[in-house]
């Protein structure tokens, strides 16, 4: 185990959360406090390893004295503030956010989306059959992963992971504006003509399954993807000496996906093309020479 340097002790911030006193370290967000208190706040664009972008607004809470609701994921706890997570007003906005997202986007592979939609009583079909949707076809332009922007909620996490927060490849950005905004390479070129290095770190952070391994995409299309039959084994990548943790997702004795633990101090969930996609030799059965 690597020695983790300790930060200087941080002061505690005391505030009121749903009528109860809460104490969190200075700099912690309202969401951190909620999670510490065991409260379940829906989040989509928030990521453990990324700066909060607070774009989805699914986590809004009411801060006493504020004109508008505050995103729990990015608003830092301030001494003496009074936060309510479960008011009518906050729940209403969360419900509408879920309705809007589900009416425009395919949330079928978004973990917990169905559960939250039920919990908040959201009715995405109330906007009618003619409601505009993302209306995108899956982009399959390489052998490693698929971009299905019909499932994209524009959370910016892939852009941030590809850009200066992690990978510094800058292969993708948000292009266009408003409802027409899409994640895109320059001139919407295929990934193979872009700056993409196929690290797959965007897949790691994608909260909706819009970005997925080609293997997962194909298996879902064929109806054979079954997470209940999958095991996860965390090991160390053998390609170089960095020592990245790989989590191998295995179904029917085949590796179907590779991720890395977000809390791993070496990777923070990030890998390179070799660790992420270079597993074909393991099974042997699918390689050309076998």
């Amino acid at each position: 185990m690597t020695a983790v340097p300790l930060d200087p002790p941080r002061r505690l911030v005391e505030f009121t959360l749903d009528g109860e006193p809460a104490r969190v370290a200075e700099g912690a967000t309202i969401l951190d406090a909620c999670r510490a208190a065991g409260k379940d706040i829906p989040t989509l664009c928030q990521g453990e390893t990324l700066e909060p972008k607070n774009a989805c607004r699914a986590c809004v809470v009411e801060v006493e004295g504020a004109r508008t609701l505050a995103p729990a994921c990015s608003r830092k706890a301030e001494p003496g503030m009074t936060v309510s997570t479960d008011t009518e007003r906050a729940r209403h906005s969360r419900k509408i956010v879920l309705e809007l997202l589900a009416s425009a986007t395919d949330l079928s592979t978004t973990p917990r989306a169905a559960e939250w939609i039920k919990e908040y009583g959201a009715k995405p079909d109330r906007f009618g059959a003619d409601a505009a949707t993302m209306n995108e076809q899956p982009k399959i332009d390489n052998d490693l992963y698929v971009r299905d922007y019909d499932k994209c909620i524009l959370c910016y996490k892939c852009v941030d992971a590809c850009g200066e927060q992690w990978q510094n490849s800058f292969a993708i950005s948000v292009a266009g504006r408003g409802f027409d905004a899409r994640i895109s390479t320059e001139h919407d070129a295929p990934l193979t003509d872009s700056a993409c290095v196929y690290c797959g770190n965007c897949i790691e952070v994608c909260p909706t399954g819009a970005l997925s391994f080609k293997s997962e995409f194909d298996m879902r299309e064929a109806g054979t993807w079954d997470e209940d039959r999958q095991t996860e084994t965390t090991t160390v990548c053998a390609y170089c000496g960095v020592g990245c943790n790989l989590t191998l997702h295995v179904q029917d004795n085949e590796i179907v996906k590779v991720s890395s633990p977000l809390d791993n101090p070496v990777t923070h969930g990030n890998l390179c093309i070799k660790g992420r996609f270079g597993y074909q030799h393991v099974g042997g059965g699918n390689t050309a020479g076998a």
Binding site: C56, T68, I96, L100, D130, S173, G176, H187
Partner: protein
Amino acid sequence: MDLRFGDSKPTDEEKAAVDDLLGPPPSAWEGADDRSTGDLRWAVGGRDARERRDLLLPGLHAVNDRVGWISEGALTYLCRRLTVPPAEAYGVATFYSMFSMRPRPATVVHVCTDIACAAAPGADDFQADVERRLGPAGEARDGAVWQPSPCLGLCERAPAALAIRAGQGCPSAAGPGAGASSNGVSANGSSPAPSASAPGGAAYAAAVVAPATAEAVEAAARAPEDAAEEPDAALAVPQAGDPQLKLLSRIGVADPGSLDSYRANGGYRALRRAFALGPAGVLREVTDSGLVGRGGAAFPTGRKWQATASQPDHPHYVVCNADESEPGTFKDRVLMEGDPFALIESMTIAGYATGAHKGFLYLRGEYPRALRRLTDAIAQARARGLLGDDVLGQGYAFDIEIRRGAGAYICGEETALFNSLEGNRGEPRSKPPFPVEKGLFGKPTAANNVETLVNVLPVLEMGAEAYAAIGTGKSTGPKLFCVAGSVERPGIYELPFGATLGDLLNLAGVTGDLRAVLLGGAAGGFVRGDELDIPLTFEGTREAGTTLGSGVVLALDSSVPLPRILLRIAEFFRDESCGQCVPCRIGTVRQEEALHRLAARVGAPSTNGSNATAGTAEDIALLREVGEAMRDASICGLGQTAWNAVESAIDRLGAYA
């Protein structure tokens, strides 16, 4: 940074456009054709190159102004020059409505279809006639293409159009590398003179056509350089010459092109007083005057300046928000066209008080005459030592750079403006931190609207006490109102705070039977035609359940089809949403869809009455629910106010009842 630029090459013209702005490329690393041995020995393009990211938007303007659109090769070259990832630059370029990433004719005609122009008599015929002459919107024909535009800020002369022909000698040639005074833009004429003889290519020209007829729009599309000179800015000020005016006193009196004329009419008295008071004294005066922001949010200017001045982090910046794009608003344009030196002087005072040495003037991209006048005014002020290293010989250095917007309402939101200016997509940041702490380039920044800044001049000339005596206790000073629509004398009116809506409309002379008044623009709200005793103050409008916003007073008589106007407002917000947060990105679309359904029901006399009524009630309930979430959960003011006007029309005017 190890960036991948691809192989696309710029044309000579595109390269020249970028090089005119940035100077020739110093090495092959930055796009020079010839690779020297030196280039092979060391890599260029580290921090120095990245720090020029803010030149991305001027660079995109340079190409678009010269060629009319931005090709892959041009974008690649610009990216190489500035070490910007092409994907990011593409994201920035596609954010703005004035840029095109596809080939299009050199001449683009923006025809305003926004509320004031849509409410103008004969608006339908006008648009149909434009379509007959120029073809359908978006379809290139005879070297020109027209497109519907959000409000062009020419509401007093509705309907309005703006024709821009790409070519040489465009205003964006005035880059930091080129020196802002030598940009080849003539101070007068309706189109700038070409800076160099254009071999084979036409010169850049921008022509404002207002009031527009379809013939005039067609003529401007064919030959924008021959369009008639715009009427004098003073004509937008019906009170021009009134000795009581404080903010508009020089419009129609002083020559906007002459610094001497400005000084002869009281110019630079306020700056002298500022130097006599010292920065702390100016902060005290501005705070004591009770001046609050005139852009819509009404934040106390003195507190903003004090908070900026007291930040330990340096440098500090002053930003003038001249990205006036709230539909129905044109006061800042008239101020900048009619009295440009007043803005230069007041920005200098703001810089002095907040400890800034650099001011950025972010000007709306669709304001060609304001750009000419301000460019010229800054050059004159610089030449006479009123800007530069030693302002008025007082040892204080201050200079101003103009940056043009490129067609994005959201960039009027201050943090979106900073992002735009820095070369990023014009998306608002979340606050806190506030701009006074982390603003432009992450540094303490005082960002003020044009009208707010210009108010500082009378504050210093009269003294805080006398200024605060104008208006009411909570809303001090004079206020500009943008009156348009069904009135005899549309234009900018200056009244002390406290005048009623009726007082103002009496001055402008209502025509027809007044059905409704839109206060504060698309982000504002409607009041009924019989609510004329509403006091036009921040507190008075709030008490009446409406808003003063940016000072829009758009009068609508009963001939104006309300559902169409509401639909146009909803379209506006859907178009202008940046797309960052879900409530606004999707909510504005759902709002527009619901209004389409409502308008269709109003239009078609129903055969099945009770069903239609139920559908209407359901859509109104849906609008309310979505509207409430947009107001509560959107990141910025755009989403938060996108439902205001529609809500007020339903609740106050009984629309769809």
